[in-house]
Subunit: 323 residues, 2 copies
DNA sequence: TTGTAGGCGTTATCAC
DNA sequence: GTGATAACGCCTACAA
């Protein structure tokens, strides 16, 4: 593989001149430029990026870290990658499984100058472990974080969830069951708070029904359909934390001969493809915009700009799983 | 940021010794090792990977290239990334949209030593454009390729599609419509060949129904439901090229009050989550295993091994959209 | 067991 | 306009 010196030699100039030609800065006479470009063509030369990166101290590469990739994470991933590529950044994926060490490895890459910035979608380690890495480059999170040092594109799920609860109430539900997701983040806490406030507002008893937590997949939703069938005093509405759970609940109910929304109403969350397909009433959650904002936050830090963020709002998508 | 010389100075040794400690090769006395490790701790030192890569001429990073990320591509992405990470490789994502130049950019990264190998999921450029890059590192494709130089984890869709057709026939369908996907690759050609052979075998007229090509999304499937409703002599079976299309067809049919499989049968393809959720009879397509094989092919080339590949087979998953 | 020094391939600061 | 040359930070013969 030819290097810059080979080009210089073959063109009868110094490597400094070749570098100027490549990077199009500094003065080069038209004549020598032509000559150098010709040689570059002939020798099929291309600069070694590792050398460039070493010299420049940056790689134009961002990392994106998550334990797995669900539907909504994929949407985020897509939006972020597209934004990044638009500005000339590549994106490296770190799938951490449930391995905390893998997450730390990704952060190490930032420290080791392999990554210019990092997007953390779902966190595994404590913030105390991760926070020290902020000094090596911009880090942005999706989930909310108790620290002021780390910017986040987090949206308070309290508002979105409340939208769903209000809709259930408005359509006649008085005996609502919540299907919460993972309890490790703050979203479930926000949702529980929303539910309590909701109950207080309408003088409902919040302890009428058991708590369901940690539901994530459509399989989880399917189990709930069976649970519902066994109850003597049946709930008339389900508020969920994801469209996948809602989808599982609805499809399994159908298999059991239970009609939605006649028997009960369901509100999903996220507004992903499956919700549209199954006509699930859900809460639209502008993940794509969050992803763009996430990139903007990193980009601004990296380039000392102040590009504006896109404003974010939840809103209800009324479909056919509520009355 | 401390570098190796700072460590050397602080520990009162040479940078060569520090390097030996870091890489655990060469002889270092227990005493100096301890001393050096202590200093590394104290100065919070970690080697700059760009320098390491420059020196070593490899980055332990693989690229994965695709225009977009659909459900099945995401499955592939996941499998590949997990396999790669298991062997210490990172994976960089190149989302090319429909921009041929972006695809070439990714291949350039291979040439520029930023990538040790490349997985190409869906191709945009002609092979003639891409083939020259094989000399810069291992390249593996998902789609079949007319060239012998490029290994592929391609599976001949003829077999899988035939499985679906045979099943439709066995369950009584005699008037089958094919919902083919993109015509740019070879898969659709294989499927069309399968259909012709199928018709010949059972003495069916292959031109009884119009051709549907280029269907990919659930929206496309939905449109077919409307088409079906308008026909006077209605087909009794649909063979599709993706679960998404099948899902759209089925859900829209339901909205139109058409019962599946009473009115017609549907066979999906891929066996992704949505097929399970909607009880779609489909063809299982071991994408995850293909992804693992893809990594193995690259890994073998990179390390001159001969790790075995996982054998791949299609099989029919009978659910409730066929009789 | 340790140190010296050259080289990996660029970029950028000086001179000229 | 162009050319030396010193970094960037690390690894690794080869010496000692």
């Amino acid at each position: 593989m030819a290097n810059i010196k080979d080009i210089a030699k073959a063109a009868g100039v110094s490597s400094a001149t070749v570098s100027r030609v490549i990077n199009q800065n500094g003065y080069v006479s038209e004549e020598t430029r032509k000559k150098v470009e010709l040689v570059i063509q002939q020798l099929d030369y291309v600069p070694n990026l590792n050398a460039v990166y070493l010299k420049k101290g940056a790689t134009k590469t961002l990392g994106i870290v998550a334990p797995y990739f669900s539907d909504s994470l994929t949407v985020f991933l897509r939006g972020f990658t597209l934004s990044a590529q638009k500005e000339g950044y590549n994106v490296t994926l770190f799938m951490t499984g449930d391995d905390k060490q893998k997450e730390l490895d990704a952060f190490e890459m930032l420290r080791r100058k392999q990554l210019d910035g990092l997007l953390l979608l779902i966190r595994l380690n404590d913030w105390k472990q991760l926070e020290p890495f902020t000094k090596y480059g911009p880090i942005v999170t999706w989930q909310r974080v108790e620290s002021d040092h780390i910017p986040s594109v987090f949206m308070n799920h309290y508002d979105g969830y409340m939208l769903g609860l209000e809709h259930l109430y408005a359509t006649g539900c008085r005996n609502i069951v919540n299907l919460y997701g993972s309890t490790s983040g703050l979203n479930t806490k926000s949702r529980m708070k929303a539910y309590l406030d909701f109950c207080e507002k309408y003088h409902l008893n919040p302890n009428l029904q058991p708590q369901f937590k940690g539901l994530n997949s459509s399989e989880d939703g399917e189990k709930v359909a069976h649970w519902w069938k066994e109850q003597s005093t049946k709930p008339d509405g389900f508020a969920t934390s994801s469209d996948a759970v809602a989808a599982g609940l609805i499809t399994e109910a159908k298999r059991l001969g239970v009609r939605v929304p006649d028997a009960f109403s369901v509100v999903g969350f996220d507004n992903i493809e499956i919700a549209r397909l199954l006509d699930i009433t859900t809460i639209d959650y502008p993940i794509e915009k969050q992803a763009q904002n996430a990139f903007t936050l990193i980009f601004n830090q990296l380039t000392h700009r102040e590009n504006p963020l896109i404003p974010l709002d939840f809103h209800l998508i009324k479909r056919h799983t509520t009355k």
